[in-house]
Amino acid sequence: MLGKRSKQTANGTTTMYRYDEFDHEFVNARVAQFGDQVERRMAGEITEDEFRPLRLMNGVYLQLHAYMLRIAIPYGTLHPRQLRMLAHVARTYDKGYGHFTTRQNIQFHWPALSDVPAILADLATVEMHAIQTSGNCIRNVTADHFAGAAADEVADPRPYAEILRQWSSVHPEFSYLPRKFKIAVTGAERDRAAIKTHDIGLHLKKNEQGELGFAVYVGGGLGRTPIVAKKLRDFLPQEHLLSYVTAILRVYNLHGRRDNKYKARIKILVHETGTEELASWVEAEWQALKESELKLPEQDVAAIQSYFAPPALAPRPEGDEVVRLAKLDSRAFGEWLGQNVTTHRNPDYAAVTISLKSIGETPGDMSDSQMEAVADLAERYANDEVRVTHEQNLVLPHVARADLKAVYDGLVEIGLATANAGLISDIIACPGLDYCALANARSIPVAQQIARRFSSLERQRDIGELKLKISGCINACGHHHVGHIGILGVEKKGAELYQITLGGSADENTTVGEIIGRGFGPDEIVDAVETLVEAYLSIRNDPSERFLDVYRRVGPAPFKEVLYGAEARAA
């Protein structure tokens, strides 16, 4: 289902994937079906109770001020023509902007219900849809945003994400799970896909014989009960990917709780059952499945892998010299280069992070004109590829080093050249109470105020890597549990209050942050963050010791002391 075939570009390299005839028919049929459902709803032929599950199956939520449409971006990979279509949607049906999410998707916050069928029809022309972006099903499979470009990658995780996507699309057995289900895949030791915060996390690696397979983690998740995933298997040969994942889903579908939505995620099942016991259930299911039609034939895996073959990047050895001269000419370019440009597997090339965290702007938001401009840059300089990161930024994965200055200049023109990737102002923030019907407090204004407080890039670089993440409610869409500094907005006596957690991380050493003490009001939270940062700077051994390293070395006491003083000592 929703299988894709490769497309040859003008220079003969395989860079992108296209629907086949069946996929077009399927998606168009869904668009027509939902169009009919919307029409019947508007005519009053079906009630809201009847309509709600139908709209959710098509990514349409109702928020505070309007409907919201969430559109899937499989493993965060976008072709420029798709980004242009998103610009068209923003301009034509919304208020001129879209919001990239922590699941590598995009959502529009202002579409009229009556326009959604037309939006979906437009999206279908560029092979996009909103199916399975909501509901208790397998959601968008996410992956390392540097996949296929990263120098430290063992293998590209996207072919496996694509296999999982095809397998999970409208899967009849797994369309009504106890709760939503999220899968992430990484192909490097360094986890950039937060796999241990997912229902299933897959780490693609090689065994001693050089064969590809997966370490399989199960039962991770954030929300009101944050739990780090447990390793179920250290090495699952790649051909068993679908049979093993199916076995896990079957165990979950059978034993997962349906009586209480707050206890329905697989993390609760793993926690209550115990990893060993659950692993034995999965193993029993798997034994019945492993030699079935779910076993992946080598040639099928190879066929999917060939779709993700590395692009034929022309030699550009002049890059080092061009970059050296450009740095001499522009200090700001040098700073951006140091912060937002990542080593590529090809030494003539680099991966560029486009920060959607300009100081004072909404994290993850992008205007229609910025989308158009980035699509232009991707076409001209980045082999027709754009990636969405789970940290709400974009990536151009294959840029010749010789073209970096031109890309930088293009980003400066559209206000997207902020050199803050991985720094304190590169904040993940959920939409919060400014948009979301579930939120209890605002997230975005807090993120904006913190970014403004630390607006000096020199100061940010001195502080070093610091992941700050903000959620406006306990559902934790802003990943606050795994922020080096996490902020959770709650409502107390009718007012916003912000709790701070410290020491979380979402990398290969994932940890859940610890609540540091009583919360802070909206007028106090930025000062509190600054106090913590100043404390870190005074404690660290040297600039190479990151905030997280210091917290792990000294624990919460010095941070409690600076925040609460005598109150902390008395506790």
């Binding site: 709803r41 109702l62 505070l64 309007a66 001129g96 909404t362 400014d434 019907a437 009718g494």
Partner: protein, 99 residues
């Protein structure tokens, strides 16, 4: 004191009930000053939901401060005034311009 609020079915716009019609500004909303009036609003809300005019119908608590309607919960104040960000757009821009 209470008001009746909902989102319009066709576009999701936040609306408030104002004596026979649903309006886009809270200032025009009909206020229920007692239990009986609140119950009457609830009946109107249920009918509007059944008639597919609106969705997510709720009675909300308000106060009158300096002559203006002031929802008790921040959530409802934001619904009434628009997001507290992007003051260049939508309802929040219109309110700013009017002020």
């Amino acid at each position: 004191m209470k008001l009746l609020t909902a989102n319009r079915l066709s576009d999701g716009e936040a609306v408030w009930y104002a004596d026979g019609l649903w309006v886009e500004t809270i200032a025009e909303a009909l206020i229920a000053h007692d239990k009986e009036s609140a119950e009457a609003l609830e009946v109107i809300g249920n009918k509007a939901l059944a008639d597919n005019l609106v969705v997510d119908v709720n009675l909300i608590d308000i106060e009158i401060i300096d002559g203006s309607i002031h929802p008790t919960r921040l959530r409802e104040r934001i619904r009434a005034a628009g997001p507290t960000i992007r003051n260049d757009l939508g309802k929040q821009a219109r309110i700013q311009q009017a002020a």
